[in-house]
Symmetry: C2
Subunit: 133 residues, 2 copies
DNA sequence: TTATTATTGCAACTCATTTTCATTAAGCGC
DNA sequence: GCGCTTAATGAAAATGAGTTGCAATAATAA
């Protein structure tokens, strides 16, 4: 049968995400991971992230440029982000306008929804002020 | 001053999008464009798409894998898509749950919203049926 | 401890998108 | 139409996120 092995690399990836106060890209996770296991491979980070995502422990979003970011899938909260185009700061935005609409949207077309991706882009307060000066 | 030149390549990219009944990726546009101008460069397609997007004439979305797709920015309609993970079919989904919420979401944090990205992923009716067999 | 095999490290690869730079061609004034 | 300026192009190389093949390693069950 399938044997999900609990390797130290997998634990590390998960703990890095747990200890982060914001979502991280695979690259960021890799750079952090190296500090703990200098020999860890990029592919290992990617494979573990994929596994964690399909296992539902981690959720995945997309930056404007197509790069993925990851965060612990809140046991209940399902949140999205406002992302600053300037400093890339990500502001949590807990209400999900989709949750209440998915059923209705899908039913019409027989579409089976498995998830969605939602990000709001713009400029945070600080960067917005800087632009005015 | 800035001279936005109206090249035949730019017109072509725009007309391909106008004549398409669905959003197209840069790669698809490039492959179509070659039929008209065999020497057109991929970079030219990308540059024109970028220009059209920042000019607001074309809007841009993201596939799950980070690849961008483009469509004419409806003069009034602002629509999103349900994208099939299997056949990549894109089903229009005209209501935008964000339009009514952006103000409220942004005000709290002083965030200045410039746009958003929203895609719903899942399986279309056909692909869903195939999986069951 | 040992056998099994999931997972790893590493290097090579894919593929969308970007960049560099010499060449071409819009759009301007004449 | 003619020439000039320079934005835009084509071609090729580069970038960078993510993937893949494979031999070596290490997490589990026996």
């Amino acid at each position: 049968m399938s044997e999900a092995r609990n390797t130290k690399q997998k634990k590390l990836v998960l703990s890095l995400l747990k200890n982060s106060d914001r979502p991280l890209t695979a690259g960021e996770i890799y750079r952090l991971a190296i500090r703990h296991f200098p020999k860890i491979a990029k592919s290992t980070v990617y494979r573990n992230l994929d596994a964690l995502v399909s296992r539902g422990e981690v959720s995945q979003g997309l930056h404007q440029n197509g790069e993925s970011f990851y965060s612990i899938a809140g046991e209940h909260s399902h949140s999205h982000y406002m992302i600053c185009r300037e400093c890339r700061q990500m502001i949590d935005f807990p209400q999900c306008p989709l949750s209440s609409m998915e059923r209705g949207i899908a039913d019409a077309s027989g579409f089976h929804i498995t998830g969605h991706s939602l990000q709001i882009y713009g400029y945070c307060k600080d960067c917005n002020n800087k632009k005015k000066n």
